[in-house]
Amino acid sequence: MKRRWLVLILLLAAIPFTVEAQDCSGKPRFSINAVTGKSAVAFPGDVPASLHEGDKMTLAIGGQTYPATVHLTEVFGVKIAELTTDPINNGVSSGFSSGDITLKPASGNVIELCPLTPLNYSMHAGPTITPANDNAAGDPTGVMRFQYQKGLVRSIEVNHDPTLIPAMRNVREELSISIDTTDRQTTTDKKFVDDNRIAGAIHSPEYTFGPAMTNGLPFFNRVRAGIEGQIARAMHSENRNRDFTIVVDGWLPFLQSINLLSAGRTVTLPLAFHLSAGHRHQDVDGNESGGRVADASLIYHFYVFDHYAVDLTAKTLLNDVSDRPASTPRTQHSYKAQVSYKQDALSKFSVVASFENGHSGPVFTKLKQFFLGVGAQQLLGIPAGK
């Protein structure tokens, strides 16, 4: 059995690895200027006390390090540290994973950075063999857990026009393999970890195209297509599943955010769309099931009475998998309207109401009632509020 694993691992080691999308909330953001190649760190709050103007530090990206000189400044009210370094090599950086960018001061704590600029890297973790945790209620005696990960993320420039933004020039590839399994002692025990996956994705550059609308913007904005796939398989049984999905998303600028009954004009992203369609196949204990899955969603924002923002989301889900529960319909629709309020022109919006239903009618009725109430308040001279 162990020999079979080793052979499989060696075969799979040639296939690289997938990354989760970064969530940089609350973290310092690292980004690189699209032209100059100079980097900067933007802080969501104050600059850490260990960072001072002119400090010499070390920027570490994966296995590569760069001596950096810090220049503290403020951009759009956000505190940033501009870093003067040697040119950053965005070739595939070995040993780099999503959390692996740091700024090391001469003294004090290392500052972990969250990368916004897509960086290329390969990642390799393991193989590691550890005694398995016995909280699975099986007999842990002699049981070993084997973990291994390998991955590659790579941007390939397919359009060399320097006037285009990088997202319009590059194809992005993500490939990964992850093995997490246990050398179980009995074939009947299903409680030990046995989660092994190969996943890959390729995303096209963003394209803006189509006839110009009355506002001068092309019909389609930053449309991107991608193919995503994943195969998961247990090593100790025949259980497996496969998912393949085609994804297309982008924006439609002909429908800009509108302002109803407002003196001012607030703008944000126009109508957004997301489409995905694919095939799912599952084999659990010899019971095979599968079928088509698809979803389509539209997101739109508009503003009312200068103080309110409405976020509308319409989603349709198709689930044609053969073994879906009787209570799950083949097609599901959902509509959601979220209303947010701000005190004055430049203050932050806060959510004050949310309406959700499987049909658009009840959602729009609730929304209409909400704003009739707000309108009546205004006519009566009652200050706008929650």
Partner: protein, 106 residues
């Protein structure tokens, strides 16, 4: 003629930077599908997504570079503005951009 040439040879830096900042800001917002109509338009960053912040930043960086200026990397600042739900008028956006623009060092 001489006056014209002198004006051309040593243009008023801030005015030129301001015009470039305005043109490049408009172009940047157009890149992400937003039509700016005037200086009083309020831009609601709270409804942006991270990729749009990066695309906006990159579009402005490329534009100002083509006009002989440079700016620090802007993507991080825009993404922080998104996270904080910042709203800013187009006029103030242009002022803020102008303040961080520097002539490109050859």
């Amino acid at each position: 003629m001489t006056a014209t040439m002198l004006t051309f040879a040593s243009p008023p830096q801030s005015d030129s930077a301001g015009k470039v900042a305005e043109a490049c800001s408009k172009k940047g917002f157009a890149t992400i599908g937003i039509n700016i109509q005037g200086p009083d338009d309020v831009i609601d960053f709270g409804r942006f997504d991270t990729q749009s912040c990066i695309d906006l930043a990159n579009a402005i960086e490329i534009c100002v570079d083509s006009k002989g200026f440079e700016v620090p990397s802007l993507a991080g600042a825009f993404d922080v503005m998104r996270e904080k739900g910042i709203q800013i008028t187009f006029a103030n956006f242009v002022k803020a951009l102008t303040s961080v623009m520097k002539p490109k060092v050859p």
